[in-house]
Amino acid sequence: MKPNPVMRLLAAALGLSLAACSPAATSAPQTPVPTAEGSAGGTGNLVVYSGRSESLVAPIIAQFADVTGIDVDVRYGSTPEIAATLLEEGANSPADVFFAQDPGGLGAVAQAGLLAPLPGDVLGAVDARFRSPEGLWVGISGRARVVVYNTETLSPQDLPDDIAAFTDPAWKGRIGWAPTNGSLQAMLTAMRVAWGEDEARAWLEGILANEPIAYENNTAIVAAVGAGEVEVGFVNHYYLYRFLAEEGEDFPARNYFLPGGGPGSLVMAAGAGRLANGKNSTNALKFIEFMLSPVAQQYFSAQTYEYPLVPGVVTQPGLVPLADLNAFDIDMAALADLAGTTALMSEVGVLP
């Protein structure tokens, strides 16, 4: 960022007023002084910006800290917000690692030149489609797009092979989706890549004609399908398992992985990248290596019901292993054009 005299003046004024009130503020015992020095003795520290939720990844990050003795600080937020923060911070970011929910966030940060390339052996741990072609980030766990259906009104035989079939008027008023959700938008990006712009638009218009109910997120869709508000919903696969855990096995909804192998059968990666200006790049690398280790991969499989991306790790019972899914064959990097997708969605009238 180029310093600009007006900005500098305004910032100085703010700094001054902050300095004026900081005696009261800093007397508080909970204010950690930012430790910018990095690894000064011991095993040092690491700052992780996590777009993945604390409830999902805090246990495995704690395990990493225990095993390595590294002092890990984590900032949690949603992936787009964390990505926007990294973009604003630029070269002055305190972060060492960006742990993101989806390739879109990693792509945006990588495109701004803020990520450092990862070594070949780290990248090689996962299939080529689950990592950045430039080697700037690597996938850690997989999340499949599925159709969640209400078991009281539908059985798998009633469901089509391909996502394209949901534009059939027979589905009118029965579909729930979340147009603002990043994963749905990733699936639409996959459609634009696979089918072309026109067919993707036609699919959106067809779905819209079926008067789908728009929810805020995947969780709300699964709840609505369970309650029978809608019969099917376009979601990621792992949300259902949290409902089953809290509400019991008789929760009347199940997942259906579309067997057609098209964009509806997409498997996406949550991944991590290393900040180019991070002060603890060795520890950042250790972090990413740890997340690809069998222990961590097993954790994602067992605790968050995601797909391990490293071959040879056992998938959670009840989930069809990744290798046996007829997943859509696409590079995660091809899903980067999120802006094109939201523009299309706005044109069609799905997004404001």
């Binding site: 700094g15 204010t31 939201t342």
Partner: protein, 535 residues
């Protein structure tokens, strides 16, 4: 222009005081301009396509929908808040103190949680429907989503803004005015319309403005109620990593805000609200409601049930269900402490920052101070993420030493919530007769002594109301806390968010209930003290 006696008779001494006030106000103003500067900086990067996207029919329609929502939420809030304020301060309503404590509490429920809770309770096949299905055979409730649902939920969550400022004004209003009206033969109803209500105008104006702007910036409730407002458009841009377009649209919100503020100032006019006589702050005679107490009671109960009991019941249900399923509850000690710390500091510093602005606006009325006052509202309609990212940009690149420290987080709270304190402080100041201060000055007190011994004590109810408003809203603040807090600084609100966003309901319920509990204690103390003081 006001013709009352002013402080000009002490030009030399006051010169320094005024200069100091202006310096302090200038500092606050500089802080407020930072996010604007950032937005302009980003918006300039927008491609020409961005500008045409802004003028599309769809965008304009969204703008219309947003304004419609803002207006309707304000109207519904007023219909809820004004009767509540009057009933709890001027009548013999049964359980008056209980209602006084309970009715402002919905403010502490974060709108994304409140809307989620109400949607899970009142949805077509939500918890209420499930409870009714057995005995009554109801299989589907009418769908509340869209404009109606968003209006109801936002009004139920924001009416406390109006309620708190109306209550503070009613408690400060000289009862002699209402008594005179009664003795001149007006019925209580006529007295309310002709005397009480007009005197509440500054308080209602300030409160309504907060409600209207809150509705503009809300993201949680409108997304869950599926009503597309301008804020949603901004979030969609951020989610597709288009910061320039988001900035351009945020600037539109700033313009709308300034128009609304100017409108409110115009409606307010130049009326004076101090009484000329000595006046007294004392307990007005309470109106006996008679048979009307039952509808009044039903009204209070209805508001509390829908805005507070219903969400709290859903939270308790989640908690119990989670505990029954053997889930371990999160430890809340550190998050509770952090929430209390951030909220108290936020409230304190915001009120201190609001003081010079309010004093200048009320005691030095003029074109410049009016402009200053309007500018405090500039950021209030912006979604928190916009202000937070502006501070990220300046903090990380220009003041790295303060970046991601508690002082910068508190600064963000000040910028976000300044109008809440400024409105309350200003209203309090408007009701103080300058003669009190002048008398003290003529007896040889220095300006700061007058401030400490006369003005501040008289302003106390308004200042406390402003501080508690800020306290309650910081308690639930999310975007700025997530991005700007010192790394590892978790609050109750971030705990709720983290759990709700991943559908761990029992984990969300515990910190959410803690927020409500923690906020009700200071609220109870304030209200009880307020009533004792005026008794």
């Amino acid at each position: 222009m006001q013709r009352g006696i002013r402080f000009n008779r002490f030009p030399r001494r006051w010169l320094s005081g005024t200069t100091l006030l202006w310096a302090a106000a200038g500092l606050v103003l500089a802080g407020l301009l930072l996010p604007l500067a950032y937005l302009v900086l980003r918006a300039v990067e927008t491609s020409s396509g961005g500008w045409s996207a802004l003028l599309r029919a769809r965008t304009l329609a969204t703008l219309g929908r947003t304004l419609l929502l803002s207006g309707s939420v304000t109207a519904v809030s007023a219909v809820i808040a004004v009767p509540l304020a009057w009933l709890t301060t001027r009548t013999d309503l049964p359980l008056r103190r209980w209602w006084a404590v309970l009715t402002p509490l919905p403010l502490v429920i974060p709108s994304y949680v409140g809307a989620y809770l109400m949607a899970s309770a009142l949805g077509p096949r939500g918890l209420v429907q499930q409870a009714l299905e057995g005995p009554l055979g109801i299989t589907r409730l009418p769908d509340l989503h869209g404009f109606l649902g968003a209006t109801i939920i936002l009004a139920l969550l924001t009416y406390p803004y109006l309620l708190l400022s109306a209550r503070a004004a009613l408690l400060k209003l000289d009862p002699a005015l209402e008594e005179a009206s009664r003795s001149l033969g007006h019925t209580p109803w006529q007295t309310f319309w002709r005397v009480t209500l007009p005197h509440l105008r500054p308080a209602l104006g300030a409160g309504s403005l907060l409600v209207a702007l809150y509705a503009l910036r809300d993201f949680g409730a409108v997304s869950i109620m599926r009503y597309d407002t301008f804020t949603r458009v901004i979030y969609v841009q951020y989610r597709s990593f288009d910061r320039s377009q988001a900035a351009l649209q945020a600037l539109v919100l700033v313009v709308i805000t300034l128009v609304l503020v100017a409108l409110e100032t115009r409606l307010q006019g130049h009326a004076r609200y101090v009484s000329a006589g000595p006046g007294a702050q004392r307990q007005p005679p309470r109106l006996a409601l008679g048979i009307w107490r039952w509808p009044a009671l039903a009204f209070c109960a209805g508001v509390v049930v829908f805005s507070l009991v219903l969400p709290a019941t859903v939270l308790l249900y989640w908690l119990v269900r989670g505990l029954a399923a053997g889930e371990a509850l999160p430890a809340l000690g550190m998050a509770t402490w952090n929430s209390l710390l951030a909220s108290s500091l936020g409230a304190l510093v915001t009120v201190v920052a609001a003081m010079p602005l309010a004093i200048l606006a009320v005691r030095r009325p003029g074109r410049r101070t009016r402009l200053l006052e309007r500018l405090t509202y500039t950021l209030f309609a912006l979604p928190g993420i916009v202000v937070a990212l502006a501070l990220v940009f300046f903090g990380a690149n220009y003041i790295p030493l303060l970046y991601q420290t508690l002082p910068l987080l508190v600064a963000a709270y000040v910028l976000l919530f300044l109008p809440q304190a400024a409105g309350a402080v200003r209203t309090a100041l408007l009701q103080i007769q300058p003669q009190h201060e002048e008398a003290a000055r003529s007896l040889g007190r220095r300006p700061w002594q007058v401030m400490l011994t006369i003005t501040l004590p008289l302003m106390r109810p308004g200042v406390v109301a402003g501080a508690s408003l800020v306290f309650l809203t910081v308690m639930k603040e999310l975007p700025a806390t997530l991005i700007l807090a010192p790394v590892g600084f978790r609050t109750l609100a971030t705990g709720v968010w983290s759990a709700v966003s991943e559908a761990f309901f029992a984990q969300a319920a515990a910190p959410a209930l803690m927020i409500v509990l923690l906020s009700s204690l200071p609220m109870a103390l304030i209200i009880l003290h307020e009533q004792k003081a005026s008794a």
